[in-house]
Structure formats: C-alpha cells, structure tokens
Amino acid sequence: MNIALQTQPPALSDYYSETKCIWCDGCGNYGIWTAVKYSLVELNLYPWQVCLCYDVGCNGNGSDKIEGYRFHGLHGRVIPFAAGAKLANMKVPVIAFGGDGATFSEGIGHLIHGVRSNYPITFVLHNNTNFGLTTGQASSLTPQGQAMNTSPNGIPEHTLASMDLVFSLNPTFVARGFSGDIKLMTRILKAAIQHRGFAFVEMLQACPTYNHFATHEYLLDRYFDANADGHDPGNLQQARALATQVQDRIACGILYQRRDAPDFYSRLIPRQGVETTCVEEVRRYDVSEYWKELV
C-alpha cells in the first residue's frame, strides 16, 4: 500500500491488511487482533505512528495481518527488541506481543528484566497455555495433569504461577483480558499503551485446537471484569490476590497500576533534559573533548 496524506482521523480500515488470517477457526487470536486495532484507532494513532513487535508463535503469525510498522522476530526475544526500539525513539508507541511459550520458557529472562527495567512499552501475552505453532506442546503454564505432545504423561514440572512471578518483579502495570471480550481488551490495551512504563497485559486466549482444558467456554464462565466490580488498580495487595487466585473465578481488567514510578528512560541521568530521540541524533560527533585527558 501507499500512503496518501491522511486528513481523516485514523479508522479501522487503515489497519486492514490484504494478507489473510490463517488462525484456526475459533482461535482467540482473532479477538485479540481485533481489540488491538480498536485500541489503536481509539487512541487516534495512524499505522505509521506505531511500532508493533511480534514474537514467534501462532500469535506472531498476526504480524502480517495488520498495518503499522511491524517486526516479527525470534522466538522468545520480542521484549528486548521492542525495548531497544522504544529507547531509540521515545516518540513512537511500541507494543510487543508474545505467547506463553515464548514468554515463560525461551524468553523468561527477558520478561523478568523487562518488568524490572520498567521499559516504556506495552507487552501483550497471548496465553493459550501451550505451544500452539509447534503443534501443542506443554508450556510452563500448562496444568500439570494435562497430556500434551511430547509429554504423554503430563509435565513433571510444577506449573508456573505466572502472576505471582510477575508481581514479585515490582511491576507498574498488570492487566488481564480474555480473547472472548473485545471491549474489555480494548479498554485494557488503551490504558496499557498510555501507561508510562512496562505494561504487562495477559490475554487469556482460547486455542480450540490444542487447549482442551481452558477452552473459550471455560474462560467465558469464569472471567469477570474486576474493575466493574469495583477493584481499584492502586491497591497492590488486592491486585496480587486477584491476579493469582484463579481457581474459581478469573479476575480481568486493569488489576494493578502504579503511576508514580519513573520508567527506564526517565531514570537515565544522561538523557535528562534531552529533547531529541536517539534516532534524530545520528550524525558525526566531534570527540576531541573526550580525548583531552589522554594527551
């Protein structure tokens, strides 16, 4: 496509891609993909203004089904790439997407250091509780009893308590959506993109092909909008409890947000007062000042 000078505010159609979606019927990725588009449009962002970074997995197969400056990288590595992109140009909103496999196996170090670094990016976890693209292996979030491809007896490891883990990292934004509720996801995504700091957004995602335990119906039955129920995202204790206790009902919405913590970039002393972005600063520099003390 070619861009004409937009005079209209951004519309959903601006994000329309000619490349056809290839997810299985009933896949939760459709819903998440739709909510992402809604949120960008509602935030008044044109495709050329945003940077969308995709991990590898079924979720990452969305990289060419939407407009915007996109990146589809290596399995498990999307967070540091997105962080580097953002730090280079603070003017562009950067949203990273990754699966539960990528995020809690191959790339778990990046998640942990991403949260503790409080990079100013949004991270959207497509949690279908399995490795979808490689045909249904267990992830660290698969329940222990469940037989999967390559674990015919179920996994011998403990299932990771992902939200307890995330809360141990001093997060500044934690939310949970459900692929069956586009409106809720849109609200969450908008807040996440506007958050200054690392926004961790888990999307509970149906995967009818490989996830036969936490199905669309299972999630539909249990999820609820905690904010609608009056949960205050400022309340850390309550947020942690809501996030981790998912046996009966699953609390969704913006579970936690801390607005006073400076993000990574703001904490960089050398960048204090610098108005330009690293991208704008590329030029030849005179460094003779720095070698003076070597003479």
Binding site: N2, A83, A85, G109, H110, Y290
Partner: protein
C-alpha cells in the same frame, strides 16, 4: 630503530598499572613513543601480572620478550622474570634481604645485571605514608633512572590530585624522596634513552578499547547495550564512563542475547547502536545475527577475541574467532567481517562499519582482540574530518516518504539487492520486518519462486560489498606502498607475509628493524576479512619467493579462508596460540629464519603440522 623496554611485575591489584600508566604518560609528553602491554591472570587480586613499556623515539607498537629494566613489586617477580633481562639490564626490587638462588646469581654475572634494592618500607615509614604510596616512590625513582625532569612528573601527579590538596602534598614529598634515592652499592643509575621527538608530546596515550569507544561516539552511535565479558568489557566501561557527557543511552543488559536484541531494535528504529562481546558471548548473539540478515537490519557487532574454547583464557589474546565470525549463524546471508589492527583503525573503522552496515543493510562484525583492547598506544590525534556518515538507501525526506509503497522495503529486484529503507514513525506506507521468509512488503511467503528471489536478493548484496571493499594493505620493508604499484612490477619479493589484526603492527616493527631494513619483504595486511578479496594476494604470490601466513591461532584461519576463496594454499605458517601476542624479537627471528631459508632453498617449508610456533 632504538628501543628500550621496562617491565613492572607484581600481584594483580598491587598498582602495576598505575606505575606503568604514569611513566608512559610522562615519557610520551617528553617526546617518546610508548607501547604498553599488560599481562594478568583471570582473577581479581594476587596472581602474577605485568605491565611492560617499550619506548622509542620512533613509532613503535610492539613488545620485546627481553627487557632493559625489571621493576619487581614482590619476590615472585624475582623468581619468575629474571630470565627476561637483557645484557646489562637493571633489576629494581623491594624485597628486603632477597637472596638470589644459584642459577640467578650466575645469570646476573653473565649478563652483568645491576640489582637495585629499593627500601620502600623504610621510606614510607620515614614519610609517615601509607603503603599505597610505595608506587609513587618507585615511579619517581624509575623516573630519575630514565633521566627525566622531576617537575614533569610532579605536574603529572598534580593532575590526578588536583582536588585533593593534602594528598597531593604527600605525593610530592614521595616524588622528591624516590627521585633522589641512590643505591648505595650501584650508585647513580641511568638508562640511556635516545633523543626525544617532540612530535609525540601531543599524541594521545590510548587503549584500543578507548579508541573504539571514541570511534563509536564519533560515528553517531547513540545507544550502547552490552554485557560484561573480557576483553569487550573495557569498551562498555569506557562508553559508560562517558555517558553523562555524550548523553547516550547505555544499558548493561541481562545477557548477550538481550544486548544484541536491544541494539537490533534500536537500529531497526533508526538510530546507530552498538554492542560488543567475546567468544561464547558471540555464540549467543549469533541467533540475532541471523535475524538481522532476514529483516535486512543494519547492525554492528564488536567481537573481542580471547582464546577459547569455553571460558578459555579470559585475559589473554588470540585471533581465533575469524571462522566463527564468518560462518556462524543459521542460514545463508551476506555479512561483513572486518578487523581492527591498532588504536588508529579501532577509531577509523567504527564509522566505516556503520556505513557498510547501512549501505548494504547487513551486519558488520568488527573483530578486535585482548591485545588491541588493552594495549596502550601512542596515537596521533585523530583526523575527524575524513569521516562521512553514509546511511545508504535510507529515505527521510517527507516528500519521498509519501511516494513509497510497502513493497519498496523488500523489493527483491532492488539494485544490488539493497532496497529502500525507512524508519518506523515515518509518515509513509508501512511494512513488516519479517523474520519468516517474506515477500516485498514483509508478508510471509513460502512459495518457491518468492523464496528463491528473496534469498538471491539477500545474497546478491555480497557482490557489491565485495567489489567495494578496499584492497588489503601492502607494505614493503616497513613502508606503506600502493598495492597496485607492486602487484605486477618491481623487484621479486623475497618474502611475502600475510596477516591481520594486531599482528600487523608487530610485523611493521619487524620490517623496520635494523636486521631487516631494506630487505624486499612484503607484508599484506587484511582488514576486510569476509567477503575476502584475494586478487592482489594471488598476483603478489606469483612474484614472491616465499609466502608465510602469520596468525594467532592454531589452524591458520585466514589461510583457510584464502584457500576457500581462491584455492591458494600457504603451507608455511607462523602460528601462535598460547594466549600471548607476537613479541617483536620472536617474530623478528621467525622472519629472519624464513629469509635465510628463502635464499638457501626455494622449496616451501613444511605445513601446519610442523610449523614453528614461535613460543
């Protein structure tokens, strides 16, 4: 070329480096060219370490195995380093009542060594100074031995303590005391230096890492992400120390993969960003190298070599990562491997590397090694005017941006395989930097035709890149010459040596030695290692009586690439793989040996198996 060498030895952390650094700086300011070389084990304190200064009034950039002056800060030095002294050499030590063993007493007699015991503890007591000042006392005495002006030393030390008046005073008293010490047995001692050349006074004393750091800043690098790993860490530290002045974004990442990804993200976004690592750290980055090839994201990686495999010898040097750099990583794609050789091109090649990366939208791997990273060079201030920032086919003009189609980004028919590039946030058609095989807009496309076209696009870049790379640098008898002048004309070449990286400077010193001055020895130095340009070599080879490969690795890796590229086999090799750099005198004698055998015998020497390793 007149040269003297002075070596300070002791435990790591005892202050060897500070003595070495001050004397080096003082001598340089007096008009000498100083080359500093450090050896130390991979541990924090203790262990036997050394700092050697080789000094001349001409350009010098190598270390001798034999020294004129040995300064031993503990008795281990007296045990371990005595053999290294030259005829008439001086040993300065601080160990009270040291008794040399029999074989050393013989050595002392044979070589007429002069042994000076410097009573540092008495002096400290007398001055009421703490042990740390023993370094100042020693420095001052060495300074006096070198017949250098005491005020020059005082002002040097003054710079360090400018803000700490009390400390400064005590330091000055130590200088006076140390400078005026006379050994009761040996009397006044003086080490004859050649007349100074004031041209050196204004030079920098700089390590390869500092040079590279300055080069990176100069080249417009605005973000640095790294993970500490010797010998790449000094670059990270230097960049970090400067951060408040350069206003760069500096990130000590949680691992090498992260550093590589952050840098890649930043380059994708459009700034210039850098990372550096070593050995197994680069194994971890090779995944990202592969990624950047697919998304045609320009990136620069510094790979600082140390001996491997595994943790290997972290604080020692090697040229063992060439094959790794040229071949690691999944998939086939165009990359560029270049190597710095000293503090001059450690600076100069940073903008070059970024320009190449952006011109071809490829990754450039810049090799350095522990020797270059940590050696101290006497360096002419850099010419900054010659640098141009070339961002290749980057589109930034708003009018041009408007005309772009998504399919311009990965257009497989782009000239030379290099398509237009524009940055996220640009008001233009968007695209996907797609890690799966993709079509021109970055949508996944696994069809046979598309796959073929896109692979050809990415590999086609190699032709332009290769064609545009400078020829290897030729010098004859220690003088640079135009490679083209010598390729087909001129005298027959007695010995053609091939090398790269830190080897080059040592070989230059060797060619300029009294022993070899004027001989028809040619040295062809490769800075651009992959893709490899061999036409000059092939033609020079035909005109050379003897060819020898000089490398710091076991296999002769450049030799392997040369053969892979053009079939030329170089059976004679001077290979070194013990973690030490080539030393001036040992390389000199290896070369003299070859010259002799060349005259005697036209046959090439035996191959790798028996190749003399010089140490």
């Amino acid at each position: 070329m007149p040269r003297i060498s002075l070596k300070i030895v002791g435990a790591s952390g005892q202050g060897i480096n500070s003595i070495g650094a001050i004397i080096a700086k003082g001598l340089k300011r007096s008009g000498y060219c100083v080359f500093g070389y450090r050896e130390y084990p991979s541990l924090i304190k203790g262990g036997h370490a050394s700092y050697q200064l080789d000094v001349s009034n001409e350009r010098i950039c190598s270390t001798e195995t034999k020294v004129d002056v040995l300064v031993a800060l503990n008795h281990h030095g007296l045990e371990l380093n005595m053999e290294e002294l030259k005829q008439g050499g001086i040993v300065l030590h601080v160990t009270p009542g040291w008794q040399f063993p029999e074989h050393h007493r013989k050595l002392i007699a044979e070589r007429s060594l002069r042994i000076i015991y410097f009573p540092v503890d008495d002096m400290l007591n007398r001055l009421g100074a703490r042990a740390i000042l023993s370094n100042v006392l020693l420095t001052a005495f060495v300074w006096s031995m070198l017949d250098q002006d005491i005020d020059a030393l005082k002002s040097l030390v003054g710079e360090t303590f400018a803000k700490k008046k009390a400390l400064l005073e005590l330091n000055i008293r130590c200088i006076d005391e140390g400078y005026s010490f006379v050994d009761p047995e040996q009397g006044a001692i003086s080490v004859a230096l050649p007349p100074p050349d004031k041209g050196f006074a204004g030079h920098l004393l700089i390590t390869g890492s500092q040079a590279m750091g300055l080069g990176a800043v100069h080249a417009g690098v605005r973000l640095y992400a790294g993970y500490p790993m010797t010998p790449s860490s000094p670059l990270l530290s230097f960049i970090a120390e400067l951060e408040n002045k350069t206003h760069m974004v500096v990130k000590q990442a949680e691992d090498e993969i992260t550093a590589a990804q952050i840098v890649s993200g930043a380059m994708y976004m459009g700034t210039r960003a850098l990372t550096a690592t070593s050995g197994v750290g680069f194994d971890l980055m090779s995944e990202t190298l592969s990624l950047n090839a697919m998304i045609e994201n320009p990136t620069v990686f510094v790979l600082a070599q140390r001996p491997g495999p595994a943790t290997g010898l972290p604080t020692w040097t090697a040229q063992g990562s060439l094959l790794q750099a040229a071949n690691c990583s999944a998939g086939e794609f165009t990359r560029c491997v270049i190597s710095v050789s000293n503090s001059q091109d450690a600076f100069d090649l940073m903008p070059v590397a970024f320009n190449l990366a952006e011109q071809y939208q490829i990754s450039v791997i810049v090799l350095t090694d522990k020797q270059i990273a940590e050696a101290l060079y006497t360096q002419h201030p850099y010419d900054q005017e010659k640098t141009e920032i070339d961002r290749g086919r980057l589109v930034v003009d708003p009018e041009k941006l408007k005309l772009l189609k998504s399919s311009d980004r990965f257009n497989p028919h782009a000239q030379g395989g290099v398509s237009l590039r524009w940055l996220p946030g640009s008001r233009a058609a968007t695209y996907c930097a797609q890690g799966d095989e993709h079509n021109s807009i970055g949508a996944v496309d696994e069809s046979s035709l598309n796959t073929k076209l896109q692979i050809e696009k990415r590999l086609r870049k190699c032709h332009g890149l290769k064609a545009g790379l400078p020829a290897p640098h030729l010098s004859i008898g220690g003088r640079s010459v135009e490679t083209s002048d010598w390729i087909d004309t001129g005298d027959e070449i007695e010995l053609l040596a091939i090398g790269w990286g830190s080897t080059g400077d040592v070989f230059q010193d060797v060619m300029r030695s009294d022993e070899l001055r004027g001989r028809k020895i040619a040295y062809l130095h490769f800075t651009y290692l992959w893709p490899l340009r061999t036409q000059e070599l092939q033609r020079l080879a035909k005109r050379s009586k003897h060819i020898v490969l000089v490398e710091q690795n076991y296999q002769g890796q450049l030799g392997m690439l040369i053969r892979m590229e053009c079939g030329l086999d170089i059976p004679d090799k001077i290979l070194k793989y013990d973690g030490r750099p080539f030393f001036y005198d040992e390389l000199l004698s290896s070369v003299i040996e070859r010259c002799a055998s060349t005259s005697e015998n036209e046959k090439t020497s035996p191959g790798l198996e028996h190749a003399g390793s010089p140490s």
